[in-house]
């Protein structure tokens, strides 16, 4: 197994962000300065031609994509949770809980225009090893829309070994909060730039689903799923990520072990945020893009109780996933500094705080430069919608 050499510091330098503040060995301390980066907020009321223009403007506000992606392999983790046929009422998935194809297409197009050598669209569809294109077709999406948006666009289902010969082993700096390391599909290591393309929505277990929680889905269920074998990964994924949620069993023994006391808590509100913080630490997010044009409130998918369609009319992008998610959390009407017991983290620990403690980025709005539409003008209160 290989160890990641992916460097967050290198990327931040390229982006002109506060790379110097980031240290190779992050400390579990709030005292240490953590990366902030810049976060762009754009208003966009519908999925139309304005999406590309708005995103282009936002990426320019972040300093432009070219320095980041020219000549590089860019991996884009999509947010396509649940089954392709699950819907909230009659709303297509992309109107409520999936990132919209218009946003994906626009991002791919802009990455291509900025010179990306190769763009890989990645997701781990629920309980299947089927090609990602087939999963999209089931939702009545047209994968060709993406492959024609830029040169050299590829798709990979990362819920299993996929096209890799072996899983990539990425160790969590400083030991990890839940696991010492994670075995992932090769695509998360075989890339120069990693983009998390997520939806602006709440999450029943983690409070919010944004660019960081989207990365929960980079883990293959052949190892971390309910049906993964005890010793070695299965060939195809079976079930969801119950072991992460409930701690009712360990991943396949071939994967890195849990940290001490990781099994002590069976509380998903304790476990899931820590797994997510680990993951964004081992697999740094270079660009976070959040689709909040249409979404849902009350949970992450139609299977949650009391969920409803909402239309915040927002796009958000940033070069630091913690900062970007902090701005999104504020845009949703919550305090990004909140923690367990306070909305949206009533029953869970804050992933923002945990990732901040790992040195991934800051959630302190006073340290984040917000460009484009100010938060106060763009705020859409999810609990009152």
């Amino acid at each position: 197994m290989m160890t990641t050499t992916c460097s967050r510091r290198k990327f931040l330098g390229a982006m002109g962000a506060a790379a110097g503040a980031w240290l190779a060995r992050p400390m579990m301390s709030m005292a240490r300065a953590v990366p902030a980066g810049r976060v762009a907020v754009g208003v966009c009321h519908e999925y139309d031609a304005d999406v590309t223009g708005t995103l282009a403007r936002m990426f320019d506000q972040l300093g432009g994509l070219e320095g980041l992606v020219r000549g590089k392999t860019v991996a884009v983790k999509l947010n396509l949770t649940g089954d392709a046929t699950d819907r909230l009422g009659y709303f297509p998935a992309e109107i409520t809980h999936w990132v919209h194809p218009q946003v994906i297409g626009a991002t791919v197009q802009l990455l291509g225009q900025a010179g990306a050598a190769r763009i890989r669209l990645l997701e781990s569809p629920m309980s299947t090893a089927e090609p990602l294109e087939e999963f999209m077709l089931q939702a009545n999406w047209e994968p060709r829309d993406f492959s024609s948006a830029a040169p050299q666009v590829e798709f990979e289902n990362t819920n299993y070994l996929g096209y890799g010969r072996k899983y990539s082993r990425l160790w969590v700096p400083d030991g990890g909060l839940m696991f010492k390391g994670y075995d992932l599909n090769h695509s998360y290591e075989d890339c120069d730039v990693f983009v998390s393309l997520a939806k602006l929505k709440e999450h029943v277990t983690a409070g919010v689903t944004l660019s960081m929680k989207n990365c929960f889905g980079i883990t293959p269920c052949t190892i971390y799923g309910d049906g993964s074998p005890v010793d070695e990964p299965s060939l195809t994924p079976r079930g969801g990520r119950g072991p992460f949620h409930e701690g009712n069993r360990l991943p396949s023994k071939s994967a890195p072990p849990p940290v001490n006391n990781a099994l002590a808590s069976k509380d998903p509100g304790y476990r899931v945020p820590r797994v997510v913080a680990d993951l964004v630490s081992v697999r740094p997010v270079h660009l976070a893009v959040i689709d909040g044009i249409h979404s849902m409130a009350g949970g992450e998918g139609p299977w949650c109780d009391n969920v409803r369609h909402v239309q915040p009319g927002l796009l958000v992008a940033g070069t630091n996933c913690v900062a970007t998610d902090a701005v999104c959390t504020a845009l949703m009407g919550f305090d990004p500094m909140a923690d367990r017991g306070t909305a949206p983290f009533e029953t869970c620990d804050s992933t923002l705080r945990l990732a901040e403690q790992l040195g991934v980025g800051t959630r302190d709005l006073s340290q984040i430069e917000v460009v484009g539409t100010p938060i106060a003008k763009a705020r859409f209160n999810f609990r009152r919608a």
Binding site: T85, P131, E134, T236, G239
Partner: protein, 498 residues
């Protein structure tokens, strides 16, 4: 006299023979005996007035001493029934010559007999052959034939039976359905009518009305008929004026009436760009049946081709699943290879193409070797066809969802069938029937069809007229938001391109 294919059959258990049978099986009590005595009276026929049910199947002879008493007891019922235009079919459960029983049947005015044992079939009275469905003798099947050992359609709430999983690995609700067998019968016994024989499950309370309506729909929507069979509780409650029982009866009759008023739909042919070829016999029967069942559950629309016959023209097909391990005959092989060269896909358990073709690079998600031949491909399973579930999943993916004809969103326990009828070389009528296998209405189900038709005639049980249902474009087809589906609905498209 011949068997009328338009008969709407119903089991009418009653009289001394049925009582004796129940006594022997230990499944009788005073209430049931009263019921069996009540239903032999002509007054019981009142329930049939105004319903489409016009053929009653009565126990006639099974070699017991009660045979004669049974035939005597039935006389008044038969006479009253004949006046109402009802035909009677006598069930023969005899191992030996049925001469006396048949003579008695002729004298009593029975229209036909139904029997499993071929040696008991009379020559002077029409016979409806009945056989267990895994022992179907398609060639010998009578014009109207019947199959037993079917399932009661509906959601299977049990997920495990011993060590055997009854649910798919993805957690899709497992439903019991006879649909695949009805479709198979249409192909292997073309031009004949299948009556499905199955009884309601034993229950402590009256079954939900939807359960009976579904039993009707799961049969009719796929081209067969259910021999209506009421459970003991319902038959006991009906004569007592139980309003709940009357509601169940009304729902059942409404469902039958609906399909009888759309009898022309029975002639529509299954649509599909995928053909499944097998002999569906012997060692191939299990795999064939299960694959049909599981592909149907995935809403994959397919056509069935019997392997033994010379292959029909393959126009309109994009893929063929050659299910059997036996290789095609020389003629079939030539036809299949021509199909592949022109761009078709053949999925098989073993490679029988030209030996000089080497497999192309594999898709890691599929355990198949892909041989490029001309413009098309032969996909050969690495380990043959072992697991019917995997065969169905892989077939769907190899054919690609790009070629789906229909899809359901929020499907839960619903399923659908697309069929059509050509009215001109390029235009036709298309019918998509949606069935809900749960007792709860299916809410927020959306149906996608690969058709540009923006509206459909929407049918539901109980509605004498169709109403217009508007779709919305969902390229390359159209999506229809279905109103809550309690059991069944149908969308009819005129002028569609078939």
């Amino acid at each position: 006299m011949i068997v009328d294919r338009n008969w709407v059959p119903m089991k009418w258990p009653c009289g001394p023979l049925e009582i004796a049978r129940r006594k022997k099986s230990g499944s009788t009590d005073a209430d049931l005996k009263d019921t069996l005595e009540a239903w032999v009276r002509p007054s019981a026929l009142e329930w049939l007035k105004g319903t489409p049910i016009n053929c009653l199947i009565v126990e006639w002879a099974d070699g017991r001493p009660e045979d004669s008493a049974q035939q005597q007891a039935l006389k008044p019922l038969l006479e009253a029934g004949h006046k109402l235009g009802i035909s009677f079919v006598g069930k023969l459960a005899l191992k030996e010559s049925a001469g006396a029983a048949v003579s008695a049947a002729l004298a009593a005015g029975l229209s036909a007999v139904i029997c499993e044992d071929a040696s008991a079939q009379p020559s002077d009275l029409p016979a409806i052959q009945q056989f267990p469905r895994d022992k179907a003798e398609w060639e010998r099947a009578s014009t109207v034939f019947s199959a037993t050992e079917n399932v009661w359609p509906g959601l299977n709430l049990e997920t495990m039976h011993g060590d055997t999983a009854l649910a798919g690995p993805t957690g899709i609700p497992w439903v019991n359905s006879n649909a695949w067998f009805s479709m198979l019968a249409r192909e292997l016994a073309p031009g004949k009518t299948l009556w499905l024989d199955f009884d309601p499950p034993a229950a402590s309370n009256l079954l939900h009305p939807a359960a009976y309506a579904l039993a009707v729909a799961d049969s009719y929507a796929y081209g067969s008929r259910w021999i209506i069979s009421l459970d003991d509780k319902l038959r006991a409650a009906l004569p007592k004026g139980n309003s709940q029982a009357q509601g169940v009866w009304k729902t059942l009759c409404e469902a039958v009436g609906f399909f009888e008023s759309h009898r022309q739909w029975q002639a529509f042919k299954s649509q599909g760009i995928l053909a499944i070829i097998s002999d569906f016999r012997g060692d191939n029967a299990y795999l064939g049946g299960e694959v049909l069942n599981l592909l149907n559950r995935r809403q994959v629309q397919f056509r069935i081709i019997e392997r033994a016959r010379s292959l029909p023209a393959l126009e309109g097909l994009k893929a063929i699943l050659w299910l059997d391990h036996d290789t095609p005959s020389a003629d079939q092989r030539a036809q299949l290879l021509a199909f592949v060269r022109q761009g078709g896909l053949v999925i098989a358990a073993a490679y029988w193409g030209s030996p000089d073709v080497t497999p192309a690079e594999k898709d890691p998600s599929l355990q198949y070797r892909l041989y490029n031949v001309g413009k098309g491909q032969i996909a050969v399973a690495d380990d043959g066809f072992q697991d019917p579930y995997q065969v169905a999943v892989d077939t769907h993916l190899l054919v690609s969802r790009r070629n789906d004809l229909v899809r359901l969103y929020n499907p839960e326990a619903t399923n659908c069938r697309s069929s059509g009828e050509s009215v001109s070389p390029h235009k036709g009528r298309r019918l998509v029937q949606v069935l809900n296998y749960s007792s709860e209405p299916a809410a927020s189900v959306a149906l996608w069809v690969n058709d540009g038709m923006q509206s459909a005639r929407f049918w539901q049980f109980g509605a004498a007229e169709a109403r217009n249902l508007q779709g919305r474009p969902a390229a390359p087809g159209t999506e229809f938001d279905l109103p809550p589906v309690s059991v069944y609905c149908a969308l009819e498209f005129e002028g569609t391109k078939l």
